[in-house]
Amino acid sequence: MTPRRLILASPALLLLPPPQPARASAEAMAAALRAFTGGAAVTPGRVTLDISPLVENGNTVPLSVIMPSPMTQAEHVRAIAIFNERNPQPHVVTARFSPHSGQAMLATNIRLATSQTIVAVAALSDGSFWSDSAQVIVTLAACLEG
């Protein structure tokens, strides 16, 4: 490119997207999920993840998760973890429960960097793991803007 051409092209260079920070990926999410389950099999079902399928503002996205369980010493939900696919980190939250919880439920507000899949995994006292996932479309992203 001649210097003149370079100058002519420079406005186009300004329009190039800024370098993106590292993003979690499907593999990173799978790795975080494995770290939580210890490699045990995860069966879809029983746990319910409630999140709006269309989100206008990714900075505050209401999310709730609930799993029916008697919550006795013999049979209770030990923990529920939430993972995402495309935020900078795959982990969102991990909740610990005890029989004193009465109900395995959690509600909070999370951030979503872009449209993606959210996964909730519940760990039961009998050693089994159950999951639910939800697709979310985000129109205004969190995390990345100044």
Binding site: Q89, V93, T94, F97, H100, S101, L106, T108, L144
Partner: protein, 106 residues
């Protein structure tokens, strides 16, 4: 001290679960936002929340930068009698705040 809102139901029955809603004022700086000088703003988030009733843990939560600013946490608990509920938030930079509330069974 960060401002905290805690909502406890008025009517609590022994052996029945009820929901506690909490909100704490905190920016939850994710550690990914540019600072305007070419770097990124350092991470400053709440990393853990615990609720214990009469010294026993009822609920715990580990948080990541993916939790929105001013973390809102709702959880459930079940008691057999009245007692003290202790909520504790801990985070980056030595953040540590506790709130104690009386739970009265009606």
């Amino acid at each position: 001290m960060a401002r905290v809102l805690i909502n406890i139901p008025r009517q609590i029955r022994a052996g029945e679960s009820f929901a506690i809603r909490t909100l704490i004022q905190h920016g939850m700086e994710s550690g990914y936002r540019p600072d305007g000088a070419g770097g990124v703003l350092a991470r400053d988030i709440i990393t853990s929340f615990t609720a214990s009733f009469e010294g026993e843990e009822v609920f715990g939560l580990e948080l990541s930068p993916a939790v929105a600013a001013n973390p809102f946490i709702t959880f459930s608990m079940r008691v057999q009698g009245s007692g003290m509920l202790r909520l504790r938030w801990r985070g980056d930079g030595g953040f540590d705040q506790s709130e104690v509330r009386q739970i009265t069974v009606t």
